[in-house]
């Protein structure tokens, strides 16, 4: 059993609001299922020791905090500091077609919030249930039909105190609308953040999504981004993960309509003794959907990565095209990856492929660069970083690309190759 979970359950019992049906269900599951054991498949390679005996405590009032600067992004920033929203929503001029409210003061949006809260995210994620039961700090973003929102909206989680932060992002994209949403989390001190986001993407809508999981050091981060795709909707999503003492992201993409198209790229770059765990599940419940998922990681020093990518094609999901690829590069003998691509197919007329590779440095490519006089150390950076850069270059937002490349290459340069 876990002291932390017991305390969380006690805290959750105090929460009573319009989201009670979902909260109570979540609480009940937490009480019934208890703390996962070592044999629990979802946590098999990711020990929860950093959380088990943690003292659960929520933050007091927070001051306004500065979001990490991304030059040229020109986003609307919504900042959570240690789990408390510090941005005053009334200070913001929202683009046409966008309305935003907090979870706590949803007012007229209550019904809309309830239509997304816990409705996109599957109930099997332990920390998602904690977030369901307990989270009172959240943002609901409603994008009207046909709205074309060009200004990116960035939701920032900053962890600077040793407290538990639970934040929620709920997004509803109306029919044929377009929007760009960025989830950006950072922090390196002892802290615990559960940050979950749910996206309900209506017919023919298009979501450009990024999640930067840049928690490091002693921070603990447990979060998820979950998407429901309706007919002909499109998702283009990029995840970037650093590792910390414990960092875990669950992703679910649910093809609930036909002809939906999902593209998901994930990059993880781990050093020292960091741990990063990415679990993704793609549910093809309807016909004619497409999914392309590429996850690539570079793992150095004593770092550990866990990747679990599942594609589940239901009986009715004929003509599905789904591809999942995970490539890993280990820079040291002590670096570790546990990768597991899973395909589960119940329809007979589908095209699916999956694969996972774990490689060390490509000697023939290295040799080729050396024969052109490039130094060994420079060649190693070019090669290993090229692997990552390819996915960065696929990010549609130019300002994010230009910000991320040097940030990642600097992180990479500090990683030791041997």
């Amino acid at each position: 059993m876990s002291q932390w979970l017991n305390q969380v359950i006690e805290q959750a019992k105090q929460v009573d609001d319009y989201l009670a049906p979902v909260r109570q269900q979540a609480l009940q599951t937490l009480v019934n299922d208890g703390w996962p054991g070592r044999r629990d498949e979802a946590w098999r390679f990711t020990p929860l020791t950093a959380v088990t005996d943690r003292e659960s405590q929520l933050a007091g009032a927070q001051k306004a905090a500065q979001a990490p600067d991304v030059e040229g992004l020109n986003a609307i920033d919504l900042v959570f500091a240690n789990g408390q929203l510090v941005t005053d929503l009334s200070d913001i001029t929202w683009p046409e077609g966008v309305s935003v409210s907090t979870l706590a003061e949803a007012g007229e949006h209550e019904a809309a919030v309830a239509s997304v809260f816990g409705q996109v995210k599957p109930a099997r994620h332990l920390f998602g249930l904690v977030n369901d039961a307990l989270c009172q700090q959240g943002i609901f973003i409603d994008v009207a039909e046909n709205a074309n929102v060009e200004t990116p909206i960035r939701i920032v989680n900053l962890a600077t105190e040793n407290v538990d932060a639970h934040t929620r992002v709920l997004v509803r994209l109306g029919e044929s609308s377009r929007a760009t949403i960025i989830e950006h989390g950072t922090g390196d001190t002892q802290s615990l953040t559960t940050a979950f986001a749910e996206y309900d993407i209506a017919s023919s809508a298009h979501l450009e999504h990024y999640r930067f999981v840049m928690f490091t050091g002693e921070a603990t981060q447990l979060g998820g981004s979950h998407f429901k795709l309706h007919d002909k909707s499109e998702l283009n999503s990029t995840f970037v993960g650093y590792g910390s003492q414990l960092s875990r992201v669950d992703v679910d993409i649910h093809h609930a309509g036909e002809f939906a198209d999902a593209k998901m790229n994930a990059i993880y770059l781990l050093a020292e003794g960091e741990l990063f765990d990415l679990h993704s599940t793609i549910e093809h419940a309807m016909p004619n959907g497409t999914t392309e998922e590429n996850a690539r990681g570079v793992i150095g020093d004593r770092a550990r990565a866990v990747f679990n990518g599942r594609i589940h094609i239901h009986r009715d999901a004929q003509k599905t095209l789904a591809e999942l690829n995970n490539r890993n590069l280990l820079l040291s003998r002590r670096a570790l990856i546990n990768t597991k691509p899973e395909l589960e197919i119940y329809a007979d007329d589908v095209k699916c492929a999956h694969g996972a590779t774990v490689a060390e440095i490509d000697e023939s490519a290295l040799y080729y660069l050396l024969t052109r006089g490039v130094t060994r150390s420079k060649a190693l950076v070019m090669l290993n970083f090229g692997f990552i850069q390819e996915l960065v270059n696929q990010m549609p937002n130019a300002a994010l690309r230009e910000w991320l490349l040097p940030v990642l290459s600097e992180r990479f340069a500090r990683m030791e190759v041997k």
């Binding site: 490519a365 080729y368 660069l369 006089g373 060994r376 090669l383 850069q389 390819e390």
Partner: protein
């Protein structure tokens, strides 16, 4: 310039080069021909210092430096260039970034200032044009998705940019149609300045119609078994490698 004496080399304990001697003077073009499995490609790898190609005897000097003592990248900086038969694809590393790094490494070796991005771009564009590759190839991943002919032309472009003193062309003609062959040959010929030397490794005489060799050597079973002038290549073209004995005739059939 290049002096190879009594070179013996093996790969995974299999002896491939068995006592090879060759001297290349500044400005000379040497063609090395020979049947499959003679050790033609191995020679390029051994000289460039590829891992796994072990020199068991003999020595090699390039411009009086002991080549075999140098690391792969030091050999390149010493002026050795190997145009690969099968250039490797490196997605994610752009041709441009790679070549700029490479050209500036050579300049550093010569005690010259690194080129600025603009200066490099100008040179790269000119070289690209010379081998008739579209300019967007500079931005693409190294050899990524290039056709066989485009890869070969990319090798020649690199050679033009790096200005080596000794170029080894490993079957730069294989898989090329006549137009591509002409482009490759023109690229090579444009670099003949009376000082730069070439070793042209080829299976067929055809390339030597375009790149006129001063000397032709026949490599068989790890040794040079016959040397002559350009007419030797024509002889091989007519009669094959029959003169080497029955075994080679069959492998060539």
């Amino acid at each position: 310039m290049l002096k190879i004496s009594n070179l013996h080399a093996s790969v995974e304990d299999k002896v491939i080069i068995k006592g090879l001697d060759l001297e290349v003077n500044p400005g000379e073009v040497h063609a090395i021909m020979g049947p499959n499995g003679a050790g033609k490609s191995t020679l390029g790898y051994v000289l460039s210092g590829r891992d796994g190609y072990e020199v068991t005897d003999g020595n090699v000097t390039l411009n009086d430096a002991d080549l075999l003592e140098l690391e792969v990248e030091e050999r390149a900086r010493a002026g050795l260039f190997l145009a690969f038969q099968y250039p490797v694809e490196i997605p994610g590393v752009s041709n441009m970034e790679f070549m700029k790094e490479s050209v500036n490494a050579m300049r550093e070796q010569r005690g010259e200032e690194p080129l600025t991005a603009a200066e490099f771009l100008k040179k790269a564009k000119a070289a690209c044009k010379q081998v008739q590759l579209p300019l967007d190839f500079l931005k693409r991943g190294v050899n990524e998705g290039f056709s066989g002919g485009e890869k070969k032309r990319n090798e020649i472009m690199q050679m033009i940019l790096l200005e080596p003193s000794l170029c080894i062309l490993d079957e730069s003609d294989s898989g090329l149609d006549i137009d591509a062959l002409q482009v490759v040959a023109d690229g090579v010929n444009s670099q003949r300045d009376g000082k730069r030397s070439f070793i042209v490794v080829t299976h067929y005489q055809r390339l030597l119609d375009y790149i006129k060799p001063d000397f032709v050597h026949i490599l068989a079973d790890g040794k040079i078994v016959k040397s002559g002038d350009a007419s030797l290549a024509l002889e091989v073209e007519k009669g094959g490698y029959a003169f080497l004995g029955k075994a080679y005739e069959e492998t060539e059939a």
